[in-house]
Amino acid sequence: MRKHIAPTAVLWLVIGAAYFFIPLLATFLFSLRKASTGHCCSLAAYGTIVHNHEFWSTLRLSFQLSLETIAISLVLFVPTVYWVHLKLPRLRPVLAFFALIPFVVPPIVLVVGLLDFYKGTPQWYYGSPYGFLATAYVILAFPYMFFSLDAGFRAIDVHTLTEASQSLGASWATTMLRVILPNIRAAALGGAFLALAIVMGEFTIASLAAFHTFPTFIQYVNETQAYPAAAVSLMSFGITWLAMLALLFVGRGSRSRVQVAGAH
């Protein structure tokens, strides 16, 4: 066994770290440039962004969509995964297979099908981000939610907890809310933070369906104002950072697994 780190290991780790940090550093330096001279240093780019009311309205919309996506996902997937673990274990591979399908039907394919199939449905659905976009985002979040919840339910003894709760006279609702949910809280929160990262960065579906969310606002700034674009890109990275750090924080102690939200 080696006592010291191998020189080639240092080399590869430095390359990896450089690839990670240099674009972030460059974006930061870029955001500090003065619009008039193109040189350092000014905070004007940040001022331009925070004084743009579209920044706040799109940020609010994307955040509301995240919350709606998380709420629908939890209400839909927590009882389903619980029920499958409790009563229908044979169905678990079917659900795991379903969770792979969004890999074969990525957002760019999904949105084509959604736009065509739901054309002509009422405006409150087709024309509203809270309808059309939210239902699509639940599908994008589904694989991450499912694998997170599945791991959570596998780590607890669903049968014993349910029987103990019911033999003490608890109803299904009480069992769900006061026994099961507290035991899978980390898994549910983990799925929720991934969903947050997905929705706050999702561009493909929003753009093709012509909704104005936070990522489409960033793209608009990219096309029009270079230095403010750097500032708002950094802010968006900050949101992803926070969501991922929160995910790590709630996942402490449990076995870490691959968590990739994929808003590429």
Binding site: A26, F30, V104, T204, S207, H264
Partner: protein, 289 residues
């Protein structure tokens, strides 16, 4: 017996909301794309659009998409393995491993519009690194007679995609590298094997299904990506997702069934990837603890 069967049917009811939701928002849209690809502008069954996919412009879009996906899967995969192994091998302090996992988790999720701009700020024509190389080393990345790099071309998209491909590889491959037991290496060296022989006959054969499986994931990740390439190239680089997107956002005369046919083509490529991936994944899980 009869009672048991009736109870079973009630038990299934608990999964109905889930199946209805995935039916309406995943399976029906996917089926719509597949069916729509085989219809003409009058909604009659036809192979016109599938036939149109073989026009040079669309064939080239698939070629470019596949080429970028292959290049970034191979380079991102190789770099990812090297970095993951460097962080896990004996002698590297433990905190490096946990730091790598954290940063990879974050970087694999950086993508889309902000990532595109980060690379414009880095390697664009007035980017920080571009200017640094020019001022300090006299290397002009954009000189047509020299490197001739441009962030809005294929090479630029590849360099940018590596930013999320590499960390994805690290996340997927690290558990497989963990599964290489020290005893195997010790046994090999006790029997007189060199480091190269160990990798050639023990390490790589065990890792190979995991590596191939991970690279397929990387391929799909890049093949399906839309936002990053759209933002970098302003929708000018003809990748399949961008061509599809132009049907909806641009002023191209719209034949929705042609967009569906292009999407169907993506579905076929990704489904083929999935069929390759599943057996590899089953084989790889043999060695994971």
């Amino acid at each position: 017996m009869k009672l048991g069967r009736r109870r079973l049917s009630l038990v299934w009811l608990g999964t109905v909301p889930f199946f209805l939701y995935t039916l309406f928002f995943l399976f029906i849209p996917a089926g719509n794309v597949i069916a729509g690809a085989f219809k003409d502008t009058h909604d009659h069954w036809s192979l016109t659009n599938i036939h149109d996919l073989f026009q040079t412009q669309y064939i080239n879009a698939y070629k470019t998409s596949i080429e970028i996906s292959l290049v970034t899967a191979l380079i991102g995969g190789a770099l990812g393995i090297a970095i993951a192994y460097a962080a896990i091998r004996d002698g590297t302090p433990r905190w490096v491993r946990s730091g790598m996992t954290t940063f990879s988790g974050v970087a694999a999720n950086f993508g889309g519009i902000p990532l595109a701009f980060a690379f414009i700020a880095t390697l664009g024509s007035v980017g920080i690194v571009t200017q640094f190389l020019d001022n300090v080393f006299g290397i002009n990345l954009y000189s047509p007679t020299g490197v001739n790099f441009q962030i809005w071309t294929k090479a630029g998209v590849e360099v940018t995609y590596l930013y999320f491909q590499m960390p994805l590889m690290i996340l997927v491959i690290a558990p497989a590298i963990d599964g290489l037991r020290r005893e195997w290496r010790e046994a090999a060296s006790n029997l007189g094997a060199s480091s190269w022989q160990y990798w050639r006959h023990v390490g790589l054969p065990i890792l190979m299904p995991s590596i191939l499986g991970a690279m397929i994931l990387l391929f799909g990740n890049s093949f399906a990506a839309y936002a990053t390439a759209y933002s970098l190239t302003s929708g000018a680089l003809p990748l399949v997702p961008i061509v599809i997107g132009n049907f909806y956002t641009g002023d191209v005369l719209s034949n929705p069934h042609l967009a569906q046919a292009l999407a169907f083509g993506m579905f076929v490529v990704l489904a083929a990837m999935m069929l390759l991936y599943l057996p590899l994944n089953r084989r790889a899980s043999r060695w994971t603890r």
